[in-house]
Amino acid sequence: MSVTTASAAPKPKIWNDPFWRGLIVQGALLVVVLFLFAGAVINARNNMQARGIPTDFAFWDRPASFDINQTLIPYSATSPNSQVFWVGLLNTLLVAGLGIVLSTVIGFAVGAARLSTSWLVAKLAAIYVEGIRNVPLLLQIIFWYNVVLGNLPHPRQAAPFLDIAFLSNRGLFVPAPVFGPGSNAIWIALAIGIVGAVLFRIWAAKRQRETGQQAPVGLITTAFVLGLPLVAYLAAGRPIGVDYPHLKGFNFTGGQRLTPEFVALLLALTLYTAAFIAEIVRSGILAVPKGQSEAAAALGLRATPTRKLVIMPQAMRVIIPPLINQYLNLTKNSTLAVAIGYPDLFNVFSGTVLNNTGAAVQIVFMTMAVYLVVSLITSAVMNAYNARMSLRER
């Protein structure tokens, strides 16, 4: 009965309906905010134009006229400012990406080491963590750059490692691979190997679920991913050569060079962030109740499978959210590059290009937008991973 009376009730006037009223008020507010914002932008623009400050993006296509000593893509002084943007962005992504991978590896190792039953290992790990995370990062960057790398010998007296790699105050020179004709076969073999390994793992997991039989997954994955390309390499007549660095004039030529600025920044960012990651890992592992490993032992699981199948999956749920923060911090901290002249985005684009063109507002907003987007992508990826790892009610 009540249902029919409700539907027969007269429709309220639009301004009495909370839904519509809310919509109208919010809409009006939005219009006012947009209006004020647009007013401010137009006013700023007019005033800047009156003062002769560039407000457009004409600088984007003008020649940059300066050189950069680390470029992952072709660049010269005649390239436009837009190319500086991409060079800087790639340099930022390079140091941040490598930093994230390396600090994760070191952080997990040190975090686990802090829980080691060996007194010495645990103490060394603790000293590392406490020593590193209590010293300001900028100081560490300058320490690596000026104190450690700065005091290395000149290329002519460089410290050789087996005469194939050289460490000098001009950077680290390592042999570089040279891909000859026929090296495509190796890439193809690698791709096949990866696909094969994945398929095998799916099959092995299914079999284990159904029959309880285990397969030597690790061994077979290695065979697929490393063995197959190795066979291809030999079959194609060893098409990958090596270019060794050698001294010529002022400096080394050949091989791959890592500049001191890059090495110092990467080292400092990695070691610093790894100390924080180690603590996160330690707390994550400690957060798993002891009863879990006891139960696993009671079921007859050995130590390694207990760690892999029982402890870590639960620890990861605690580890991932603060780990995302560390990744974001590392990316943002990479802007400290300006202290030692590593040509990251912040340094070359919102530093040099801004200075040369005077387009301050455009360039600073662009740079902020880039860091925002990179951070959002990092969080999105990590959140997706977190969602996969999170507790599922079964």
């Binding site: 007019n46 400050i53 560039p54 105050n169 002249g341």
Partner: protein, 344 residues
């Protein structure tokens, strides 16, 4: 650290001053009024180049570019100490001026077309004619910049130096590595530790920078001058009175040198019959009014600071550690380029 924040800070002030409810107020209004009201001049200075701008051991700012600001303060307040110096790195100086953080930039800044026309600044007076050079270690046995192919060169970010360097190596088809630092000190330290084969900047600064190295005698300055660097004070566009005041401060100092009016003899010269001197010192006519100053504006400059030659000598010339020759900076009457329009 301030270095890292400054662009943002400057941007914020820029956006605020530009968008605030007082359209135009920040820049249409004469800078001079603001300076008078504040009671001091805010001058953008070099963080530390010997002879040009450097605080001494008592924290007193000293140097050629510093004295120029003291001359402006003397003209306005009759007191050369009424200046606050804001040290600025090469890359921060323009945003600081543009955002109104400083009234005038007096910091070995090269007058270029794009800085003046493209970024809303005004250069008027060239207080120092300079050019870019290279410094290398003696033991490299390099005698000419043309032998630098393959070298690593330490240079400062946001300077014409960085751009000329690229031009020079491109023109001569030589390879090099530019290692770019945000401050001169970082760049010089990197050069000193051996990160670079050469350090490059304006010639005048090279001599000063060399004195800061561990062993100055181990380094030589190569003979080539690869660019034109007319250095001078910079102001924002849109305040002609202020622009004139800055420009004529320099001219007044040049004219006094030309007329042999010095800090020591300026009071006697008040009685000098020469009409040019009479006009300069405000004995005859009133040439300060248009600048928003008193008749004795130039007298105050000379009395408190001295003429151009005196300032040059005691900071960078014969009477200083740097012992730089007048060269292009001699008066036009002495085969130099320093030339001032007449006061009349």
């Amino acid at each position: 650290m301030t270095r890292n924040r400054r662009p943002l800070l400057a941007l914020a002030t820029l956006a605020l001053s530009a968008s605030a409810a007082l359209p135009g107020a920040a820049f249409a209004g004469p800078t001079l009024d603001a300076v008078k009201k504040r009671g001091e001049l805010v001058c953008g200075s070099n963080p530390g180049i010997a002879g040009f701008g450097l605080p001494d051991d008592k924290g007193q700012w000293k140097g050629f570019d510093i004295e120029f600001c003291r001359a402006i303060a003397s003209a306005i307040f009759n007191d050369p100490s009424k200046v606050r110096f804001t040290p600025l790195s090469a890359k921060d100086r323009f945003t600081a001026l543009q955002s109104g953080e400083i009234d005038v930039l007096s910091r070995n800044t090269t007058w270029t077309q794009s800085r003046e026309v493209g970024q809303g600044f005004e250069f008027g007076a060239v207080t120092y004619y300079d050019g870019q050079g290279f410094m290398v270690r003696k033991k490299l046995n390099v005698n000419s910049a043309l032998e630098l192919s393959g070298a690593s060169v330490c240079v400062q970010q946001g300077t014409t130096t960085e751009l000329n360097l690229a031009d020079f190596f491109r023109t001569h088809n030589m390879k090099y590595e530019s290692v770019v630092f945000a401050t001169a000190d970082e760049g010089l330290k990197a050069y000193d530790t051996g990160r670079c084969d050469s350090f490059t900047t304006d010639m005048s600064q090279l001599y000063g920078e060399r004195t800061k190295l561990g062993n100055p005698e181990d380094h030589v300055i190569l003979p080539e001058v690869i660019s034109k660097e007319p250095l001078g004070p910079v102001v924002r566009q849109g305040d002609d009175q202020w622009f004139n005041l800055v420009k004529w401060t320099h001219y007044a100092m040049l004219i006094s040198e030309e007329l042999a009016v010095t800090k020591a003899n300026v009071d006697e010269k008040l009685k000098d019959p020469n009409p040019e001197i009479k006009r300069l010192l405000g004995v005859e006519g009133d040439f300060g009014a248009g600048l928003g100053l008193g008749k004795d504006w130039a007298y105050r400059i000379i009395k408190n600071v001295g003429n151009y030659g005196e300032v040059f000598d005691r900071n960078v010339g014969a009477g200083s550690k740097l012992k730089i020759q007048r060269g292009l900076n001699a008066l036009w009457t002495n085969k130099g380029l320093q030339y001032a329009p007449p006061i009349r």
